[in-house]
Symmetry: C2
DNA sequence: ACAAAAGTGTTCGGGTTACACCCATGG
DNA sequence: CCATGGGTGTAACCCGAACACTTTTGT
């Protein structure tokens, strides 16, 4: 058998929710090929690290972001997807809470930036395909796992959650039914704190109760939002 | 950067439904490590073939089976999962119809065989983990995509479909409600042929109507069996 | 007092679930 | 005629969808 010379890389599509819109973390490449193009963060896996470690290391190095949720997305390996070598890329799907949003991205939009999902630049390699798959996964997953909470601050308003769902699912949701449904799960903790955002009646803050969720999950409970 | 020397392999968990039970296709390894252990089919990806091509080639070479459905499952890459080299394995999930069941497997149980999912031998490497993930995927997928039809012959009895669902989901299903539900989708074609399997009233044969399914899917129809 | 956002309850309809009897055939 | 599996209808219930008015605050 001929000696195989395929490189293994990891890439991550990281979503963040800010300014009432869904954003993706991108980096500007400073080497060829696709120099100066925007791309999703990633790089070659080191000899002795796991794939997950590789993703987290690359994210830290390239963007300074720490994800709050990470799962494998898909592996891409068509010959020719990287013009230099044959590269098989194991891609990941990550979520970050606002408080973990990269400082780099906030202060320096030169090589790292959050892009509104609806205002994306051209992407390097086959990254547009990867991003598209990640969007679908996010939309889908949001409906049957409580990953929305990994995009919100620890304490959040119900209206934030509502807006998050409407933004990502791209549809209108009835406020009353949504609240009833979510509250009926019993996985939210209503805090005593109220917050007043300018005009209107002050709103209650909520917290996602991980313990309770895991307990219910053990018992066969299914999170499900249409 | 140090030169990366990671190998890329593909492995496939292939399910078949025979003798009213779910079976998995396994091969007996004839080289070290894990010589004489059973393993899921797979091997290294060649320099110029896609991952899918690699899976299909390996399956053909090792088992003589042609799958009717194939999708990527997950990628495994923890250092040490293969005692020789670092290997990242992109795993796939396949389904075969009875008529495509390997001749090799039927006539020679020495190096290739179908194992009842409930009577599995010890598996090489981390293949037990992979198989487990594949089982979960199958169970899950069965409920929201019509992949059950890729496990049945082209013409099948309703009772076959019923048994398939009960076997894979591992629960009782009400015959009447199940039939009503499936038929209401309008994706089955009732054939004129009836078949009598020994005792009992002869049953009608059905065929899955792919065209109709794709048409409905375009229109937003969702296949869904609880 | 007015605008803005938060909080809450009821009704209706469709779909899922539960359930039992008759039919066609082979032995 | 009996055993075996195939084929069918109806009633109860539950959950999701639709929908509007009151409350609390800032200006």
């Amino acid at each position: 058998m001929v000696r195989q010379n395929i490189k293994v890389a990891v890439d991550a599509v990281v979503f963040g929710y800010k300014d009432k819109a869904l954003h993706v973390l991108l980096i500007k490449r400073d080497v060829e090929p696709y120099k100066d193009s925007w791309a999703i963060p990633g790089g070659l896996v080191l000899e002795n690290e796991s794939l997950e470690d590789a993703v987290e290391r690359e994210l830290k190095e390239e963007t300074n972001v720490t994800v709050d949720y990470l799962e494998q997305l898909y592996s891409f390996g068509k010959p020719g997807r990287d013009p230099r070598n044959r590269v098989v890329s194991v891609t990941y799907f990550g979520l970050v809470k606002p408080e973990h949003h990269s400082i780099k991205a906030d202060t320096d939009a030169n090589d790292v930036a959050w892009f509104d999902i609806n205002e994306l630049p051209e992407l390097a390699f086959d990254h547009a395909v990867i991003l598209d798959m990640a969007k679908k996964r996010l939309r889908n997953k949001l409906t049957y796992e409580p990953i929305g909470f990994d995009l919100l601050a620890d304490k959040f308003l119900f209206s934030d959650l509502e807006k998050l769902y409407m933004t990502i699912l791209d549809k209108q949701i009835d406020r009353r039914n949504f609240r009833k449904k979510i509250l009926s799960f019993g996985i939210l903790e209503e805090l005593k704190e109220k917050i007043s955002e300018g005009r209107g009646r002050p709103a209650n803050l909520f917290k996602f109760n991980h313990k309770q969720y895991f307990k219910l999950k053990e018992e066969g409970f299914l999170f499900d939002i249409k």
